[in-house]
Symmetry: D2
């Protein structure tokens, strides 16, 4: 028995990699795009994962939004940590069901959502954002997609201090992460991960340098991830022509206990 | 108050990227390597995340094993799905806290462990393995690392059928995944993900072809992931000389509801 | 004493990676772009490699066109073999000063030009093109850039046969290269290179299969090349966001002598 | 009529990517490897590009050494500029038949050989090496492979000055290339290329910084090249598992004329 679409549900309407939308189903209303119109009433009662034809004959797929669909929709028009990097952060930093994670900055909350789904109801995300407009936009995004249950939003400069203690991971996407490594160390459990994501190599160098002092951090490692899509078409199989060559460098390190 | 290492705990003993070990702490015994000996009694009562010097003066780091440490330890000497690919599978296929996931083959259970951690106590992994030696080895691995609570192991050829229904994801690492796409469709909820991991392009082509028939699958997409490590050292920053150039292609597709 | 720009010379006018032009200097006329106007009279008598400011205050660089500048200008609006691949072809196939090389198809002659420069006056390029419009366009391009001296253009389907013998290399960019491997073998000196460039993996597979029969080819090897640009800017150093992820696969093989 | 192997010729004896050798044919002697013995007398009079079976039944291919075979043989056991990078240097810096090129350091002369072949008898390579052992080793290598005709070796620290003027390109593989950019500018024709190859990002940054001062350099661009090999085998086609992830960054810049 498939899940049926109901009034008020979110749907992911997909045409291709560039033309796709997340919309809330509203009885009596329609989805409009320059590729055609779909009446929401025609979706209601049908299962997630079906094809719909617009009046102009274009066939759309209608899906339940996946975690990355939501991530990308939240982050549209802003710089976000891409799914390829988010996956590496989860796996390399042992973020999973039940983890308590500090994040900063919240930004559009695109990564916050992925983290919140990953840690589930037994975990919690504590996310810091200094800019008021971002803080409010993130709140709207999290509310809209039902991701507030296990997220605590702080409208605060994380450089002023982390309120939480004994967290399982700290994930930073900051302009000056090196200023926070000591504070992150204080907030983390021992032998747990700090992840710092930076677009430039200079930021990465400064962060690694700050970490390498005082013996507080172990197993410091910097990774970059490339994702290539292969178009598998009969007798025309080939990678896509363009790919994202760079998003950011991710530095991982584990807290060393500094015993007195 | 840091977590203190106790008798019976697992520790991850780290020297460098190639020389590292997961061992269970046993009071009165020692860890032996060709780089020196560490007495477990010297670890007990100290926090995870500390440095220990062997008698020969080599400094080791002693950590709580991370998810990927365990994944790699389980898979040692076998072909496993790498952390870089595992992260992409989790994020792209919306596998997170609470998900119910079918996996085959179990292999060394290296990916099973990552999946089990990701879905947590509210989720469950159903993993199929046809070879008895692998089934038993996986059972030992999962038991050893305390990963059995939310894992159901089937010693069975998955091509004979999937016992579960309405699962949230199916993850295949099979020699002939194209033979299972119909059965996977039957087992999956609508608009949920099948992931097929294959080392060769021919396997990938056959799987995509099988999926493209009958309109049962939407948004079929094949990805490959590269991970590069950057050695950040003052005035010597550069990527590592060698990297893994290929592990496998990952094909993702969502179930389309086939309405009658 | 620098080379001075003269009436009739080609210049490469550069603003950035996307906005750059090759133009022939004409006394009394001007270069027009939406970024401003440059009078050719102001270029004449100045050295190649200088900066010129348009009336609107935009600063352009004026250079002698490099081999790749010409290659890209010739190939604009068509699919060409990129510089990154052309370099690998030259080096891997031992194409250098004095080589005699068969090429097909000519296309826009973008690669023909690179090959002609590489082999110099002591070598020669024999290039085949079946389509009349391409043949004529290539002729215009080669004439315009002064590349006709060591190039023989054939307006002919190379599948009908290669007219030359004992050549040092054969470079194919054809839809069906596997149909030509025997003929290429006949035209090549022993222990010399065939290079086949194909966008799809199926073409590559068929070509390798055709080569692996009859023991006529040795050291068959397929490569792909990625080129990434690093933007080195003080405190902002990072790779470019986008890169070309795929142009084509290049298969190299050496003729084995088939002795009777 | 194929080229026949004669006493005194060099041959490239190939088993696979790791086991291959360049040897000089000597009548009455043999090639010995742990995979078997080949009598040179059995090679003499046969064409380049044939298969030979050792007494132990292993089949070797016997080829005319290609430019990259020689490059790799010269550079064995040292750090060399790889073929993938050499190809990009030739094409991007317009080095071709007839070019006059300054290079430093000579090292094993592996790149010198590629450059010498590329520029041919009408061009010339001027190569600088400060270390006497390297200078002598390079001389032996160049003599052995018949590459001395158009190469001038300087046993000199290039930082003390470039003896040549009006050269077409300067190619640097130095520890401190930023100290040479002014001198390179003086030696180069206007609107011609300096290429600097450096393993680390700090070297690359310093070189770009030195170039960006005083407006002497235009179109500064830093590239890195990845080369991936695809193993095309029926039903087993896949990229090789490992690849070289990093050799060096290549910075290209063109001389701007500094007019007074």
């Amino acid at each position: 028995m498939p899940d049926l679409i109901q009034d008020g549900d979110f749907v992911f309407i997909f045409l291709d990699g560039k033309r796709n939308w997340i919309r809330r189903v509203k009885a009596g209303e329609s989805f409009h795009s320059n590729k055609g119109i779909l009446a929401f009433d025609d979706m209601i009662g049908r299962p997630f994962g079906h094809k719909m034809e617009s009046h102009s004959g274009i066939v759309f797929q209608v899906h339940r939004p996946s975690h990355t669909d939501v991530q990308i929709a939240m982050g549209r028009n802003t710089q976000i940590i891409y799914p390829k990097d988010a996956g590496t952060i989860l796996v390399q930093a042992s973020i999973a069901a039940g983890s308590r994670v500090v994040e900063s900055g919240t930004g559009s909350a695109a990564l916050t959502g992925i983290l919140a789904r990953a840690v589930g109801p037994a975990g919690r995300i504590f996310t810091y954002e200094i800019r008021e407009d971002m803080y409010i936009g993130a709140q709207k995004n999290l509310t809209k997609f039902g991701l507030t249950d296990n997220v605590t939003q702080h409208h605060q400069d994380i450089l002023e201090g982390i309120k939480e203690e004994n967290v399982d991971a700290v994930v930073l996407d900051l302009a000056t992460p090196w200023l926070l490594v000591d504070e992150a160390h204080r907030a983390l459990k021992s032998s747990c991960f700090l992840v710092s994501y930076s677009p430039t190599i200079e930021q990465t160098m400064k962060t690694c340098k700050a970490m390498s002092e005082e013996g507080k951090w172990g197993m410091i490692k910097t990774l970059e991830i490339f994702q290539r899509e292969i178009m598998v078409r009969e007798n025309k199989t080939r990678p896509t022509t363009w790919m994202v060559a760079h998003t950011g460098y991710m530095t991982f390190a584990r807290t060393m206990s500094v015993e007195e």
